[in-house]
């Protein structure tokens, strides 16, 4: 795999996706994203890293317009995402592909039909042409021979690759990956990482991947953001810059230390109070 070239933070003119001072919560009780601003460079692979529940997947959903922000703007392809306008959203989504955490494949369709699904829905191509495109996409992920299989017959890694083939079926300009390495064995993980980088480079797309697998992400991404559990961006930079960071929170996450600025214990009452022991 080619070593990703170091880059500086993309300027707004290079950006395909811009998240500007976004605040978001699913309800009024808890804020998930707390005034975050991120920029994703055109043609680059950018990773959003962070622990579980820090709002990484929520960010992807805001980019796809699944939810409206509480405040701030999300700009994709130069347009502000309007989550209330179905027509605008569908026009936006035709230009992007998303890989869901567990593939989200249609279990009533075969592998072939899953990959053909977006082509049949959005194009008037002849069935013979669709067949060729589907086999090419499956070939790109190494699963041309699995075209006739049922989804239930696939392993987790294969399902993720089929989902990737489906995500790139329409040659999207922007690819969103939600935890592409979660639950994969080391070989499948390496295959997935290689595919993300290779597809990005060969198609000229822009890729945003959300993950907590530091090593895999650093091996393929050009730039990375690290988010805290408070829904804030704590650091960003190239993998080398983040790896060399002296920031305690960055060091704890990258080295996988059990305790540090991110506490091991969930906030709780004092021990003595819970166990009825007088100090």
């Amino acid at each position: 795999m080619a070593e990703p070239s170091p880059v500086t933070v993309p300027s707004p003119s290079d950006a395909l996706v811009e998240i500007d001072h976004v605040v978001f919560g699913y309800d009024s009780r808890r804020t998930i994203l707390n005034d975050v601003s991120l920029t994703f460079g055109r043609g680059k692979v950018t990773a959003i890293l962070g622990g579980s529940g820090c709002g990484k997947t929520t960010l992807l959903r805001l980019i796809g317009g699944v939810y409206p922000t509480n405040s701030g703007t999300v700009r994709v392809f130069g347009d502000v995402v309007d989550a209330h306008n179905d027509e605008h959203l569908f026009a936006l989504r035709r230009r992007l592909g998303m890989l869901f955490q567990f593939g989200a494949l249609f279990t009533d369709l075969s592998v072939f039909d899953n990959v053909a699904f977006p082509l049949r829905e959005h194009t008037d191509l002849e069935e013979a042409m669709i067949r060729d495109i589907v086999l090419m996409k499956l070939n790109a992920v190494g699963l041309r021979g699995a075209a006739g299989l049922r989804i239930a017959d696939l392993s987790g890694g294969m399902a993720r690759r089929v989902a990737l083939a489906r995500a790139i079926a329409l040659d999207p300009e922007l690819l969103l990956y939600d935890e592409p390495f979660a639950g994969l064995d080391p070989i499948s993980m390496s295959i997935a990482a290689n595919l993300i980088r290779t597809l990005n480079d060969t198609t000229g797309a822009t890729s945003i991947l959300v993950s907590h697998d530091v090593d895999e992400c650093f091996s393929i991404c050009d730039y990375a953001y690290l988010m805290s559990s408070q829904g804030k961006v704590v650091a960003h930079g190239t993998p080398k810059q983040l790896a060399a960071s002296e920031d305690p929170e960055v060091r704890q996450f990258i080295r996988g230390e059990p305790d540090g600025p991110v506490r091991f214990h969930y906030p709780a009452r004092p021990l003595a109070e819970d166990f009825g022991v007088n100090a």
Binding site: A104, F117, E121
Partner: protein
């Protein structure tokens, strides 16, 4: 006192919110129907899944109901020497009431739960979200074809239920008990009004098709994306559909048959 009034107000607002949500969902499905009709193969596939695959239970139940109805009516009518009316009574009972109502209850149990579970699991597996992110509206692709299929299938199933029920009654009354076959059919023919009796029965089953399919889709689409959520959704589908059908049956019967 003010607390009680506030509680009533909150409850009222909650009920209005739920009703509004149902209404919005229903309008969304109706708006998606033209797109589904442009791809009739999607609707046909669902008619197969909802209608064809429900045939066995509908036909078996219809036959059993016909058998029992004929026996019960015979025991009641023989006392008054009116067994020749048996065919007419069986027919009116089936076409006006039992056909549409029992078919709807069986449909809610067989096809309704299947729809709710299928859509609930699609939601839990992020398949609906994936479709949405592919710029494919799940309401047009998933909900509307199933809704149309349900509305089309229900009256056909009800007609088949009533028909097989009448045949069952014929077997018991004529072939086993020995009621005169000529009387069985001729009094039925002269006493049944096709528009008033059969037609209204079909209208009822169409309305029940709307109710049962809508409730099944709503419960699946709004189910919490967990195993418990899907289980609760399927239970609610059966309970709400059954109550809805029985209550609506009373309203429709009052409207359709208020004059002798």
């Amino acid at each position: 006192m003010s607390e009680a009034i506030a509680a009533v107000g909150r409850r009222t607002l909650e009920v209005l919110r739920i009703l509004g949500h149902h209404a919005t969902f229903f309008l969304d499905i109706l708006r998606a129907c033209p797109a589904a009709l442009r791809r009739p193969y999607l609707v046909v596939a669902q008619i197969h899944a909802i209608g064809n695959l429900s045939l066995v239970i509908i036909l078996a139940s219809g036959l059993a109901v016909g058998f029992v109805l004929a026996l019960q009516m015979y025991y009641a009518l023989v006392t008054y020497g009116a067994t020749e009316s048996l065919g007419l009574i069986v027919n009116l009972s089936l076409t006006r009431e039992l056909g549409p109502v029992v078919t709807a209850l069986l449909y809610a149990g067989r096809a309704g739960t299947s729809l709710t579970a299928e859509i609930g699991l699609m939601k839990a597996g992020e398949q609906l979200a994936a479709m949405d992110m592919m710029a494919v509206d799940p309401r047009s692709r998933v909900l509307a074809p199933r809704f149309l299929a349900g509305v089309v299938s229900m009256p056909i199933l009800a007609i088949l239920f009533s028909s097989i029920g009448i045949l069952g009654a014929y077997v018991v009354a004529v072939l086993l008990i020995g009621v005169d076959a000529g009387n069985f059919w001729s009094i039925m023919q002269s006493g049944v009004d096709v528009r008033r009796d059969v037609g209204n029965g079909i209208v009822k089953s169409i309305v029940f098709g709307f109710i049962c399919t809508f409730i099944a889709l709503y419960q699946g689409y709004e189910a919490e994306a967990t195993p418990e959520g899907v289980a609760h959704g399927t239970t609610r589908t059966v309970v709400i559909s059954s109550l809805g059908v029985l209550m609506m049956d009373f309203v429709l019967t009052a409207l359709m048959f208020s004059t002798p």
